[in-house]
């Protein structure tokens, strides 16, 4: 009998440490469902970030590597280059990816590294307790922006649209942004991740899926309110959809290189 629902094999069946209403759990599950569907659990290495998803190695039942804060794309580069036939996923939050690890992310993207970055954007620092992130919206409050992010007077700068910024880099081949605020969007995110992971295994180049995600605890609201806040504030600024898709063009050009075995 074919199983049509159940707990993904790649996801450890434990209670997670994530707060109620947090999006990480949904995103972990989506990744694991796709790994299972692609039959790649035993050929997957995930680099987990510093931030709330530092715990990802408790939940992914795949090999994982924990690099320093922001250096996940560099470590993932090292792993994928020596294990080119493996599925390598670089899981990062907004502070890890767009603040301390900006250089590593941009240059990995520019080199067209053939791993996939899953970028969880909840517009706040979670693990350290609600500080301003590079993606915190203008006016949004944080412990380090107690009167709201003020880009000019207080010199806090503006929220960064990462996908649009890196879309000019030729090494980037698939960039998509989704959200896990409702079942329809969750399904779309799953489609984006699947497309990115399949593109990785086809060797087309750098792929990233950004996922807008709720952080009720550090936004200071209950989970339902946080979903509404994401819809009313984040989605208008961080437009959902595929920002760049050159997968078929790269395949047609014959420059996609399907990886061989280990170095």
């Amino acid at each position: 009998m074919k199983r049509i629902a159940g707990h993904p094999e790649s996801l450890v069946p434990v209670q997670s440490k994530y707060c109620g209403g947090c999006g990480h759990g949904i995103i972990h599950r989506l990744i694991c469902e796709i790994i299972d569907e692609m039959g790649l659990r035993a050929k997957t290495v995930i680099t987990n970030p510093v931030g709330c998803a530092i715990w990802a190695d408790l939940y992914f039942d795949t090999d994982t590597v924990q690099p320093p804060h922001g250096r996940t794309p560099a470590a993932a580069t090292g792993i994928k280059r020596v294990l080119p036939d493996h599925l390598v996923i670089c899981y990062q939050g907004d502070g890890d990816l767009a603040a301390i690890g900006t250089a590593e992310m941009i240059h990995a993207a520019n080199r067209g590294e053939k791993f996939t970055t899953i970028f969880v954007n909840n517009a706040i620092y979670g693990m350290t307790g609600g500080q301003m992130a590079p993606t915190t919206l203008v006016g949004q409050k944080a412990t380090t922006a107690p009167r709201g992010r003020d880009p000019v007077e207080a010199g806090m700068g503006y929220p960064i649209r990462v996908l649009e910024m890196i879309s000019t880099l030729e090494g980037t081949r698939y960039l998509a942004r989704g959200a896990v605020n409702n079942p329809g969007n969750v399904r779309k995110v799953k489609g984006y991740i699947r497309k990115a992971l399949e593109a990785q295994m086809a060797g087309v180049g750098f792929t990233m899926v950004e996922i807008l995600s709720q952080c009720p605890t550090n936004w200071g609201m209950d989970p339902i309110k946080s979903v509404e806040w994401l819809e009313n504030n984040m989605i208008p600024f961080y437009k959902l959809g595929e920002v760049k898709d050159e997968i078929e063009a790269v395949k047609a050009s014959g420059t996609a290189t399907v990886a061989g075995g280990e170095k």
């Binding site: 290495v45 590597v65 924990q66 470590a75 280059r81 020596v82």
Partner: protein, 369 residues
């Protein structure tokens, strides 16, 4: 150059390190340009990609060392290299690798510091090298070549030591050692299939055996558990020190005065020892080759035998402190120290030796008083 050529060829120290690393089975090299080690990264760029191995010029020293972290976690022999300011940046990844018990080799061709300092040869990263260098309690194995031949031999050895003891190994050279040319006999090319099997701990290849998933990390939020790991690591360092302490003694047996120096300072000091012997003075040279583990017991043995010491270093007494600790203040320790990229001269070392032995030095041309 043929694969296993036994003949001597002329190479720079930086090139010998690079070629020896390739022959030791270095599968992946990640680096960032900095003087005076640029011949090393260029050699890797020229060779590795054509061999089907991995070469990346990274966007920064920080990125380079974390690429090494990833490749080492995947069980491959990996290396990075730099010079002093770049090595400071790499300390993050080295600390994480020490905390995750990852083996790799890194090279510091030291230049004058602090800060941007100079690009001239120095040894002022001694303390940083032998005490760990980054945050947290850890050590790395530190090997200090004093010739181009030793650049090749110690780099070749470094990969084996890294794998044997599951820890980073540092090749500590300086601007003279890295850029001078000498004849060198290169070690044989290792077949990658003959390298140590790391399937017992590395990530990747789970499909081959169906083993449990593995997590490589330096994180442990339970203090008692983390402490236990660190205690175990330091037990391993102690065992490693028993087996891997390396040094060279030249004419120490009958010496009244033992000069202690490594790397370029040792080359200069050897000339001073020869001058002293010609003058009938009983002076010897003790050259630490492993700076961690430091040959403390061997120095103490010499101290117990009644010898006194002159440390010659291109840093402000950093190694002299280590010598004093080693001999428990049993004997006087004098110092010739230079900094900022200045290399000591044979004449001034000879003059210092004469002075210590109570002989009025002859007028020395250009020597330091």
């Amino acid at each position: 150059m043929s694969g296993n050529s036994p003949e001597k060829i002329l190479m720079k120290g930086n090139e010998a390190i690079a070629e020896a690393a390739i022959r030791a089975g270095c599968t992946a090299y990640f680096g960032y340009p900095i003087t005076p080690q640029n011949e090393l990264i260029a050699w890797m760029a020229d060779k590795l990609t054509d061999m089907g191995r991995v070469f990346i010029q990274a966007e920064s020293e920080v990125a380079a060392v974390n690429m090494v972290y990833g490749a080492a976690a995947a069980g491959k022999r990996a290396m990075t290299s730099s010079s002093s300011p770049g090595i400071s940046l790499k300390q993050e990844g080295i600390s994480y690798a020490a905390g995750a018990d990852l083996p790799f080799v890194y090279v510091n061709i030291v230049r004058g510091g602090p800060g941007l300092g100079s690009i001239a040869p120095a040894q002022s990263d001694f303390n940083q090298s032998v005490k760990g260098g980054g945050h947290g309690d850890y050590r790395v194995i530190v090997l200090a070549p004093s010739s181009v031949q030793e650049c090749a031999d110690l780099t070749y050895l470094a990969f084996d030591l890294a794998d044997k003891w599951r820890m980073p190994v540092l090749i500590l050279g300086d601007g003279v050692i890295g850029t001078m040319m000498e004849g060198v006999t290169l070690p044989p090319m290792r077949d990658l299939a003959s390298l140590p099997d790391k399937s017992g701990w590395a990530v990747g290849g789970l499909y081959k055996t169906g083993r449990a998933a593995r997590h490589i990390t330096s994180l442990d939020l339970v203090p008692a558990e983390l402490e236990k790991k660190i205690f175990n690591r330091f037990d391993r360092y102690k065992k490693m020190a028993d087996e891997e302490t390396r040094f060279e003694e030249i004419q120490c047996a009958d010496a009244d005065l033992v000069i202690v120096a490594y790397g370029t300072s040792a080359r200069v000091s050897l000339g001073a020892v020869e001058e002293a012997r010609k003058a009938g003075l009983k002076v010897g040279l003790f050259r630490p080759i492993s700076l961690f583990p430091f040959p403390a017991d061997e120095l103490d043995r010499l101290a117990k035998a009644g010898k006194r010491f002159l440390v010659v270093e291109m840093s402000m007494g950093q190694m002299a402190d280590e010598v004093r600790l080693s001999i428990h203040d049993r004997a006087p320790v004098d110092l010739v120290a230079h900094a900022g990229g200045v290399v000591p001269t044979e004449e001034e070392v000879f003059a210092a030796a004469q002075k210590i032995l109570g002989i009025e030095p002859a007028k020395v041309q250009g020597g330091k008083k």
